[in-house]
């Protein structure tokens, strides 16, 4: 059973492999320019495990930024993760170190897979979630290490490979629609995302859009609760 679970998880996470290895390598190559040992790139993949934050780290390290500044910038950059937990809290049954590791490894891609896919028949949901997270981190650490180790010797001839990540999110969005059968949250997100991107902010697009989306969802839920017709019909 274990072999076939690994097989299922590998198939589910393969798009992440194609996304994380080139992205991790890009980070590793940038990092190697700083002159540190390549093992530190591995360590960053193991301990930080956050794509955007690690790219940011290269810039901060080069500028010898202060630790408080680094803490605040990293926290703000990753603050979208706050909302991943809100969506997952009722679904995550793991306890102890398993729970710790699942929360630690909650990247955009892991979150997307955990909310869109399920354990195969007869397999414990927690075990499936753990493997997905572990496989994803494995790809990321591999990419970081390879990039820093090979350094400037490699040149990417894989223009366009970065498209796998939006393609993955797209497929997962379609799968979510198949389960939910409500178009409203999708239409809402398209409208909000495009409006924020085009009219408000490029850099903070994701965070601002998430905040507006949550507000709209909560307002909708609140309005439903206070709708007088609903009490009439009860």
């Amino acid at each position: 059973m274990s072999v076939s679970l690994n097989h299922t998880v590998f198939k589910a996470t393969l798009p992440v492999l194609f996304g994380y290895v080139p992205l991790g390598m890009a980070f590793g190559v940038l990092f190697s320019d700083l002159g540190y040992h390549w093992l530190f790139a591995t360590a960053m993949g193991v301990f930080i495990f956050a794509g955007a934050a690690q790219f940011l780290a290269v810039g901060l390290l080069a500028n010898q930024a202060g630790l408080l500044e680094i803490f605040i910038t990293t926290f703000l950059l990753n603050s979208r993760h706050l909302f991943y937990g809100i969506s997952l809290i009722s679904r995550m049954k793991a306890k102890g170190w398993r729970r710790f590791y699942l929360i630690f490894g909650l990247t955009d891609e892991t979150f997307s897979l955990l909310t869109s896919t399920h354990a195969p028949e007869g397999v414990d949901e927690t075990e499936y979630q753990l493997r997905v997270t572990l496989f994803n981190q494995g790809y990321w650490v591999l990419g970081c290490t390879l990039g820093a180790w090979l350094g400037g010797q490699i040149s990417f001839s894989t223009a366009g490979i970065e498209f796998v990540l939006p393609a993955l999110f797209m497929v997962l969005a379609i799968e979510q629609y198949r389960h939910l059968r409500h178009a409203a949250p999708f239409v809402m997100a398209i409208v909000i995302g495009l409006a924020v991107l085009l009219l408000i902010s490029r850099d903070q697009m994701l965070l601002i859009s998430i905040l507006i989306s949550i507000s709209v969802l909560l307002l909708y839920k609140g309005g439903e609760r206070w709708n007088p017709y609903r009490t009439l019909s009860q």
């Binding site: 934050a53 926290f75 937990g85 809100i86 979150f111 498209f163 393609a167 993955l168 797209m170 839920k221």
Partner: protein, 109 residues
Amino acid sequence: MESVPYLIAVIAVMTGATFLTRVLPFVLLYKVADHPLLTFLGRFLPPALMVLLVICSFKNEEILSVGFVPELLGLVAVLVLHLLMRNALLSILGGTGCYMLIVQSGVFA
């Protein structure tokens, strides 16, 4: 110049800050995990987040220009493949393949 203690401190600080963003909701909302509002968000927020992550992937592109046609075609390829075959891997790799072909051919450059 590179200083190893500084790098280790930076890694520790970034690890802490990143973990904090991931763990806070679990710590703060643990007691109210079954609240109807959280169940509602748990159901309707992930679809919205998935769409936002697609859009966010292109936040540095000019999405209203001709230069964005390859991305649009790639996304359409993913959508069509997935509606027809419903094989996640095929849709993702097929769509990415289309996108890479278009980009490397330089038609919309």
